[in-house]
Symmetry: C2
Subunit: 592 residues, 2 copies
């Protein structure tokens, strides 16, 4: 059975020593976040994750969700109690405004806690995770009445939320969606159609489920400009919040999936279900993007969370498993063999995962801080730049943390040899669960296109310029410190390659957008390496400031692994970008 | 439901145009292999694979094997009939000497057919695959009586074979194994102990199962030098070959695995089972290595076979699935959207897989030709060099084809978006099945160590020198041809990097073997890139020789993808090799 320990110390170090969260004490939510409060919240979350959520992870995988003949869905044993514990602890509303019953803490705290939860039990965490994103969409685009009626009960965890986009013939290309909405005299709509792959679409954790559904109002224009967003409750809600009759929406089937068996992935049938418009008509994609962008960060967290728990278990196994002898002579003289952690190739696997995890966690928290700043900084210029950086980094985090997070789960599984392939050790579940994160909320190829085709050129490249300026300035300001050189030199090389790749796009993709498409995935990963490399440079500097602490010596070694073994991939990515589209586009489709 | 078409044309092209198999007409087995015979054999194999084995692949995954209360194991529905068809077709003995009932064709034909079978149904193919390797071990190390009694019935597929190495506390480190063998007065041994992870350990396909089992004779030295190999039949065999009583060996349990559900992975209990020594006492590992080396090539084939079938299905889906529009304007004006193959990032995924597959297939067949030459070339020097190259390339093929084959299955699954994650499309099964190949028959980290620690320095580096000389000579001889430059230039860069990495080991690993261990996996992958790059250079040359054939134009484009997008990784691998072990070995175990 795998185990899990929430990385509380690393998050505290990142928030205080690296990101200097105390600088933001003047902003709403941050003022209350004294070091004591921060530590107490993280420890309390860790306790829930380690003691309540983690023990259910394998049960959830094994038993899965069950759909009954009447369309009701039962979650795995223990999930209901765990969900109650989660809601009773106030975790659903941690980063939601107090006026809706939340705790008004910054988003960055919500993200840190979310990573803990995913590491403990990803399938479980998807239920409250989707609710959180649905709340955000409602708070931005919902009417006052919708906010009043739905948000507090969702914040309390009494009701949950979902997002309904995909149909069997369209996922990426939502312009093709067929679900339709017929206006009614009372201002409501009748929603009719079928949605697939709906996470948490039906379950027994809450008394109501609030579906946010994309549909086309009768007579609306074709394509994405004719799509509207609707709120469709599973059970009708009276104006006083009490529950009424069942709405005409039901779960038609559960998907048989590779992993996340503990989460109910539903085919949802809307048979003239009553719904209400959220935001403006025909502007549904815009409204849904609030939910989607937050969910993309949520999915990035899944990649990191599983990579973290996979690392922890592989490291424990490597210290425990006796097999063979060290290349440099016996290390465990009295035992029948040495623990496999004596082998450099085993350390390579562990350290490459860890170097990624700690850099990725820093980049995730840095980006989420931008979300907090974008929402509440006093200076408009600060808000704008934070918004720019958040937009730029969202596809990078989603694509890179899930691609590499999955790879890392595979590598951690490898440490176990044959034992990694059997269910009992739990490693193969991490791999199966992690796989979906590369796909949903926009497959990673779509993230790469979003980065290259939209985020990069947006506002004349303002976001990219802000990012590179920040990194270049950091390198310059610290260039005098010899000790930082092993971090700054590779970072500079990575940054140079990122700028070369960007210039190559500018020179070659205007005339032929396929040149951007062909290099987009490589570019996204190059961007991720530079982003994490920048974080590692800052981590190293902070660690040097606490010399003598063995944990800090470890950080410096792990950071060098990042620079020595992960950053060199940036050169290969640049080569792939500059290879262009010509060779791959030359072939006719029949040649494939 | 996924489909599969055996890559007959590619194999024929490789054997004739690239590897010039007609040069070997003077060798046993090759004389009969006229182009007509070759094509007929491959087409017949393709038919069996496409019509009989492939349709059972998903059933095998879904229904799996069942162990009954009495220890008997039932294979999935249809497997018995398919196995009968396989044996009736003479496929078990395709590359076995006619004196044992085989067809005496070269190994290279057996390997080509094996790839087809794996692409159709990997879990099924493991049953005859293990039998084939067991036959090889018996023919090399068995007594005349053992060969006479067991081999023909195994060649006929009447009986199957297994290899029993792993115990719960030892896999890689076989020196620790505890299964013991007590000598009996009649020359037999009583074998007692428990083996785990035994593929095809028990099943209902054959009337007998011949287990090859590693055990320690009572009083034998500790460690690997005290291990002997035993033949332990499931059912006792009378001298005339008829079956007697049940032996004291039984299946205690089936493992619950991530994939290959159609193959019975057994815990095997030996309770004083009767066995006979194979080869010399205490030299069991040596004897088992014949089986293991052949099995390693067999596992490499699994990586390639699954990568091939995954590619085929992803390519078909990409041509069929309508979603979005091409970046350069509509390609399917009358349809609601363009097929996703218009997108460069989709082509990138497909072409990177295919560039790997075709290069890997060539390298696999080239290496297996060395096995044929090593066994039957007239010139002793040719035999020795072939043996060297086979030994050198075996860990490279096993490690690289399974690591990248798995990655390719993941990439092919990605092409399907959410549909790749659900069972019905079959893509997630390929990923789960492919995962084991990186682990068994020596985890890939062990392959890398075998390459760097044994194969590279063996006989003063003779094998490596032969390989690099062959590649360098090829580059030199073709340097005058401008058309070949896009292939030869990147190959030369790759070869230079491989030589630099090798020299770095020579300079730094003698004093500190951890420097070899830390770079071993990167080195193995670097070696694989150069090996496949060499093959691609030869493929390109052959394709240029058949100008005007659209299939050859496609080959040239796919080969350029290899050079533009896969080969650049060689630089990153070199950087990892030369990073050395210092940083990763500096940390104490507690720091992990």
């Amino acid at each position: 059975m795998p185990s899990f320990k929430a990385p509380v110390a690393d998050v505290l170090f990142l928030l205080t020593d690296v990101l200097h969260i105390d600088r933001y004490g003047n902003l709403p939510g941050f003022a209350e976040l004294t070091p004591d409060v921060m530590e107490a919240v993280l420890n309390e979350a860790a306790k829930l994750c380690e003691e309540v959520l983690q023990p259910l992870n394998r049960i959830g995988d094994r038993d899965g969700c069950v759909r009954h003949a009447d369309g009701q869905v039962t979650t795995p044993p223990g999930f209901r109690n765990a969900y109650k514990a989660y809601c009773d602890g106030g975790w659903q509303g941690l980063a939601v405004d107090a006026s809706y019953g939340g705790q008004s803490l910054p988003q960055v705290m919500g993200v840190a806690v979310n990573e803990f939860c995913v590491g403990a039990n990803m399938a479980f965490t998807m239920y409250p995770g989707l609710t959180k994103s649905a709340i955000s969409a409602l708070l931005v685009h919902g009417s006052d009445e919708q906010k009043r009626l739905y948000a507090p009960r969702m914040v309390a965890g009494e009701w949950s939320g979902t997002m309904n986009l995909t149909e069997s013939h369209c996922g990426t290309d939502l312009g093709m969606l067929k679900t339709r909405a017929a206006p009614q005299a009372d201002g409501s709509y009748k929603i009719t159609g079928q949605k697939i792959f709906i996470s948490a679409g039906e379950h027994d954790l809450t008394s109501n489920i609030i579906h946010l559904v994309l549909a086309r109002i009768e007579g609306a224009p074709a394509g994405t400009k004719g799509i509207s967003l609707f709120l469709v409750p599973k059970v009708m809600v009276h104006p006083n919040g009490s529950l009424g009759a069942r709405n005409a929406v039901s779960c038609g089937a559960l998907e048989h999936k590779m992993g996340i068996h503990g989460n109910a992935t539903c085919v949802m049938n809307y048979d003239g279900a009553t719904g209400w418009l959220v935001g403006e008509a025909h502007r549904g994609l815009n409204a849904m993007f609030v939910m989607m962008n937050e969910a993309r960060i949520g999915v990035a967290i899944q990649g990191l969370g599983l990579s973290e728990v996979a690392y922890q278990n592989a490291a424990a196994y490597a210290k425990d498993r006796l097999q063979g002898r060290a290349l440099t002579g016996r290390k465990n003289e009295s035992g029948p063999a040495d623990p496999i952690i004596v082998h450099p190739d085993v350390r390579r696997m562990l350290l490459e995962i860890r170097a990624f995890n700690e850099g990725a966690r820093a980049l995730l928290l840095w980006t989420t801080l931008q979300a907090d700043l974008a929402g509440s900084a006093e200076d408009q210029k600060v808000r704008q730049q934070a918004e720019d950086l958040l937009g730029l980094m969202t596809p990078v985090l989603k694509g890179v943390l899930t691609d590499t997070g999955f790879d890392n789960c595979v590598t951690a599984q490898q440490v176990f040899g044959g034992h990694g392939y059997v269910a009992e050790w739990g490693m193969e579940q991490f791999v199966r669960d992690a796989r979906i994160a590369m796909i949903y909320e926009g497959a990673n190829g779509i993230q790469a296109l979003d980065l290259v085709g939209r985020k990069l050129p947006k506002d004349g490249g303002r976001a990219f310029a802000a990012f590179t300026k920040e990194v270049a300035t950091y390198i310059k300001e610290n260039a005098g410190d010899e000790a930082q050189k092993p971090f700054l030199q590779p970072l500079k090389e990575g940054l140079d390659r990122l700028q070369q790749a960007t210039m190559w796009f500018m020179a070659n993709a205007m005339g032929n957008p396929d040149n951007a498409g062909a290099g987009s995935t490589a570019y996204m990963h190059l961007f991720g390496l530079v982003g994490m490399g920048y974080m590692w440079a800052r981590i190293a500097k902070a660690a040097m400031g606490r010399a003598g602490d063995p944990a800090m010596d470890t950080k410096l070694a792990v950071g060098r692994i990042f620079m020595e073994r992960l950053m060199p991939e940036s050169a290969a990515h640049l080569a792939r970008v500059t290879a262009g589209a010509q060779t791959m586009m030359a072939l006719p489709a029949e040649a494939f």
